[in-house]
C-alpha cells in the first residue's frame, strides 16, 4: 500500500498528520498500560491486608495481562478507525483548498516556455536600456564637444568680424570696396607717375 505522505498537510500544519496520530496513539497506549498497572498495584496492596487470602500476586498479574491484552486488541481496532476518520475529516487539506501562500500559483500559472520567454524579454529590455544609456552618454559627450568646437569657430568668426570692423572704422563699408578704392587710387597714382616721367623726358630733350 503506498503511503500518502500528506505533504501538503505537513506544509499547512508544520508536522505530518501521521505524527499527530502517532503522538495520540503512543500517549493513549501509555496511559492504558499505566492505568492497568495502577489497578494491579491497588489490588496487590489490598491483598496484602488479607494474608490468608488464597489469591496470589501471580494470579493478579495473570488477570492484568489478560485484561490488558483484550483492551489493547480493542484499542488498536478502535484507534485504527479513529485514525482514518481524523486523517480524512480533520487533518487533511481538501483537494479544492489552496493554502494562502500558494495563491500565487493560481494567479500566475505559467509554462517553462512562457517563463523563459519572459526572462528573455526582460534581458532584451535590459540590454536596450543599457544601449540607450550609452547612446545618451555619447550624445552628451558630443554636445560637450560641440560646445567647444562652436566656441572655437565663434572666435574665428569674431576675428573676421574684427577685421571687417577695422575697415569700417576707416569709412569703408566693406573690405572689398575699400580694396577696389585703393586699387583705383593706385592706378591713378600710376598714371600720374607715368605722366610725370613723360614730361621729364620732354624737358630733358
Amino acid at each position: 500500500m503506498s503511503v500518502d505522505p500528506m505533504m501538503y498537510e505537513a506544509q499547512f500544519f508544520g508536522f505530518t498528520p501521521q505524527t499527530c496520530i502517532l503522538r495520540i496513539y503512543l500517549a493513549c497506549q501509555d496511559y492504558l498500560c499505566e492505568v492497568m498497572l495502577v489497578v494491579e498495584k491497588v489490588m496487590m496492596k489490598k491483598l496484602e491486608s488479607f494474608p490468608n487470602c488464597d489469591i496470589s500476586p501471580f494470579q493478579i498479574r495473570e488477570s492484568t495481562e489478560k485484561c490488558l491484552l483484550f483492551l489493547k486488541e480493542r484499542f488498536n481496532v478502535l484507534f485504527c478507525k479513529m485514525e482514518q476518520m481524523l486523517l480524512k475529516l480533520v487533518l487533511s487539506v481538501p483537494q479544492n483548498v489552496l493554502l494562502p501562500k500558494d495563491k500565487v500559483h493560481e494567479q500566475y500559472p505559467c509554462t517553462k516556455e512562457e517563463f523563459e520567454f519572459l526572462q528573455k524579454e526582460t534581458e532584451q529590455l535590459q540590454q536596450r536600456c543599457k544601449a540607450e544609456a550609452y547612446a545618451r552618454e555619447a550624445l552628451l559627450a558630443e554636445l560637450e564637444e560641440q560646445k567647444q568646437v562652436q566656441a572655437e569657430l565663434e572666435k574665428i568668426l569674431q576675428w573676421f568680424d574684427g577685421l571687417d570692423n577695422v575697415f569700417r572704422e576707416h569709412g569703408n563699408s566693406s573690405l572689398k570696396e575699400s580694396f577696389a578704392f585703393m586699387v583705383q587710387n593706385a592706378r591713378k597714382l600710376q598714371d600720374v607717375k607715368n605722366e610725370i616721367e613723360l614730361k621729364s623726358k620732354k624737358l630733358k630733350l
Binding site: I24, F115, T122, L153
Partner: protein
C-alpha cells in the same frame, strides 16, 4: 457533518473512540478478567473499576489537550475551516506542488518578472524619448557648426581672393 468545525469533529471523534474503548473495557469484561478478586472483594472491584475508567479518561483527555496546545491545533483547525469555506465555490482540485522546485518557483517569481518588465519598458520609453530630444539638439548643433564652418570657409575664400587680387595689383604696379 461537513458544516461542523474540525475542532468539534476532532473532539467528538476522540470522545467516541474513548467511549468505544471503555465500552469494550466494560465492567463485565473487567470482572471477567479479575474473577478471583471480584469474588473476594466485589465492592472493591467496582470501586477500582470506576477509578480505572475515570483515570483513563482523564489522562487521555489531558494528553489530547496537551497535543492540541503543542500543535496549536485549535488555531490551525480554525484556519483550515475558513480556507475550506472560502474554497467552497471551487469544484476542481486546487494547485499542488509538482515536486519539481524549479517549476513551482516560476509562479512565485513571475509577478516580479512582470513588474521588472513593466519597469524596464517604462524606463526604456523615457530614455528613448529623452535621447530623441537630445539627438535633435545634437543634430541642430552639428548643423550650426556646419553653417559656421561654411561661413568661415566663404570668408576665408573671400580673403584669399582678395589677397590674390592684391598680389596681382602689386605685381602690376611694381612691374609696369
Amino acid at each position: 457533518s461537513s458544516s461542523s468545525s474540525r475542532l468539534l469533529l476532532f473532539d467528538s471523534i476522540v470522545q467516541r473512540f474513548l467511549s468505544a474503548l471503555l465500552e469494550a473495557g466494560s465492567y463485565q469484561r473487567f470482572v471477567q478478567c479479575y474473577q478471583r478478586f471480584y469474588k473476594f472483594q466485589p465492592e472493591m472491584t467496582q470501586n477500582i473499576y470506576d477509578q480505572f475508567v475515570t483515570h483513563l479518561q482523564t489522562s487521555i483527555k489531558d494528553e489530547i489537550e496537551d497535543i492540541k496546545q503543542e500543535g496549536n491545533l485549535e488555531k490551525l483547525f480554525d484556519s483550515l475551516d475558513k480556507l475550506e469555506e472560502e474554497a467552497r465555490e471551487r469544484t476542481g482540485p486546487a494547485w499542488r506542488p509538482s515536486g519539481v522546485p524549479e517549476e513551482d518557483l516560476r509562479s512565485t517569481l513571475l509577478p516580479y518578472y512582470l513588474q521588472q518588465k513593466e519597469f524596464l519598458q517604462k524606463r526604456l520609453q523615457e530614455r528613448e524619448t529623452k535621447n530623441a530630444r537630445l539627438a535633435q539638439v545634437v543634430l541642430t548643433g552639428r548643423e550650426k557648426i556646419a553653417a559656421m564652418q561654411q561661413e568661415i570657409k566663404e570668408r576665408r575664400e573671400a580673403w584669399q581672393a582678395l589677397s590674390k587680387a592684391q598680389m596681382e595689383l602689386v605685381r602690376s604696379v611694381v612691374e609696369p
